[in-house]
Point group: C2
Chain length 342, copies 2
């Protein structure tokens, strides 16, 4: 059926599938042309535009599409407000400041708060029935830290002090966000998404002990809730090299690792190809290297994957804005050429 979906289930494929986090984005001239006309939030909220952007990477030869959306979108119907400030990234208008703020937080009906995303999913599926579409959402910790810090953060001081000083409020916050995330991903799959990825982009700020105690149980509940959807579930995190073996307790088909680990060693720590598929893990900066160096780096990742079923080639994090689309296309070709079954 599909290289990407087969690889998620660790079935043999004719070649290693490849896609890229943020493959629809600022590095593409077609994207920038749209961005010159619309602000980012408008692009995200207008299904016609979001469908068009989601489809852009088809031209690169990727094996899967990922929805054009933002992990922070659910914070809007949660009442926190969201602005994208050029040069500063996303900022919240009303971050969570008190335990009372958290007590007032309530899940919302997905169709009402995020219906435009579901509309985009339906639009992409109608326009492109052949390439699998990956839906996604932010992981509860990553959403919580944004909701508390109000934007990006260096030390996650508000987040960690809440976790330490008000464990009950933290637990409630994580429960609400887990509930929202589960419902959001269910709705995406019902609208047609054929796989889901959960992005825990900032969880590497924690210690392993904090992760095990205050994050992992919520992730376990989240992924259990997604089990009946019968689509591959991917968990992505960065900075978690110190506790990869703990991720074995997650009921997921695929673990996506960042570039700060050797892929073979990470896979072994996660239980190996007998247990879980692995996604990754080229450094996004390698796309800015000279062509020959980039090719070496791609082959290094493939060498460590060892051609075993269950490897999905990807970056260790999202494509950076200064990336040349030709380099992305080359990576797709090299991955396919190097792994094509003869």
């Amino acid at each position: 059926m599909s290289r990407f979906l087969d690889a998620c289930y660790r079935r043999p494929t004719d070649a290693t599938p490849v896609w890229f986090m943020r493959q629809a984005g600022r590095y593409q001239p077609e994207y920038r042309a749209l961005r010159a006309k619309y602000d980012l939030l408008t692009m995200l909220r207008t299904p016609e535009i979001a469908v068009q952007v989601t489809l852009l990477p088809k031209a690169l030869g990727v094996d899967a599409l990922i929805l054009f959306a933002d992990i922070l979108l659910p914070l809007v119907p949660l009442g926190l407000g969201l602005r994208f400030v050029p040069g500063k990234g996303p900022l919240l208008e009303r971050s969570l400041r008190t335990v009372d703020d958290i007590a007032r937080l309530q899940p919302f009906p997905i169709e009402e708060g995020l219906g435009f995303v579901l509309e985009t999913v339906r639009g992409v599926r109608a326009a492109e029935p052949d390439l699998p579409l990956i839906g996604f959402a932010g992981a509860p910790f990553t959403l919580a830290s944004y909701a508390l810090e109000g934007g990006g953060s260096r030390h996650y001081q508000r987040t960690k002090t809440l976790m330490y000083a008000h464990p009950d409020a933290w637990d409630r916050l994580m429960r609400v966000l887990t509930e929202v995330t589960a419902a959001y991903l269910q709705a995406q799959v019902q609208a047609g998404a054929q796989a889901v990825q959960v992005f825990d982009s900032w969880v590497g700020a924690l210690s392993p002990a904090m992760y095990r105690r205050a994050v992992l149980p919520h992730l376990q509940r989240l992924f259990s809730r997604l089990a009946d959807l019968r689509v591959p579930r991917i968990y992505f995190s960065t900075g978690t090299a110190g506790w990869l073996p703990d991720l074995r307790s997650l009921d997921v088909e695929v673990i996506s690792v960042d570039w700060r680990v050797d892929l073979d060693r990470a896979w072994a720590q996660l239980g190996g190809p007998e247990r879980v598929a692995i996604q990754g893990n080229l450094d996004p900066l390698a796309l800015l290297a000279p062509r020959d160096v980039l090719r070496e780096q791609v082959h290094e990742v493939l060498r460590r994957a060892g051609g075993r079923p269950g490897h999905i080639f990807n970056l260790g994090h999202g494509i950076l804005p200064d990336t040349d689309p030709d380099q992305v296309r080359r990576v797709v070709d090299w991955v396919h050429e190097a792994t094509l079954a003869v």
Copy 2:
């Protein structure tokens, strides 16, 4: 002789030694009183003030002092200029922009360029002959990335593109910085420092493969150069949980790990207490937790260290400005009480 020095050599001690990265700094009212009168660069460059600041943590009961200095100071005599901009951190006036900039870079005589630091070392030793004094410097990669980026960085784009596209220029840059760092630490020891710590605070941005190829050989040369000094050598890095076993190839007495690893697991990956001492690894944010939670976290670190000779209690990175000095004092007391030989 000294708990701290003994532990560096993995000799049994009467209690686990403890000190804190950035223990002389902004969280202290005495420091802030000085900072109200002088700008940071003046404080760093005036031995009388730097001696006074270095000695402040004595009141906390720590087992070692660390020089009040900044890892970026050597960039001044290297011709790059350095300003500390309130709210923005350190910025360079002339960052390295081209391969020619790197070709022109030359080591400098330490006594000439950084004599004030050596004067501070002598001053601290004269004022406090009993507590061991740790000298320090930035690691070559961390200095190089600052010199290239011109300040803090999120993606280390200039650094990595130089590493990829101009490996010879990168190698020259690392050689000059290794030479400067070795000479600087030698001079500190000659002036009286009784241990040295090398701070590789940003090297966790790399992949393990890049680290092994473009960083590790320079660190190996650096620490070999420091072997005849006959003082403990400490290597500190953050974000390197994915390749701790590679650090076994460093000829050092102590490895200092961040809080993103379990101390016992990290120690095992580094070769265990038979091979190397370990320093760490409380999350600096734990100092902002309620007293009981902080105590639990301290005991968790000690439990993982298992009372084996060769553990030096520390944080996983520097103390944060919002820390209450009383919390720091409590940690010192708890570490000593919990580990005191009966």
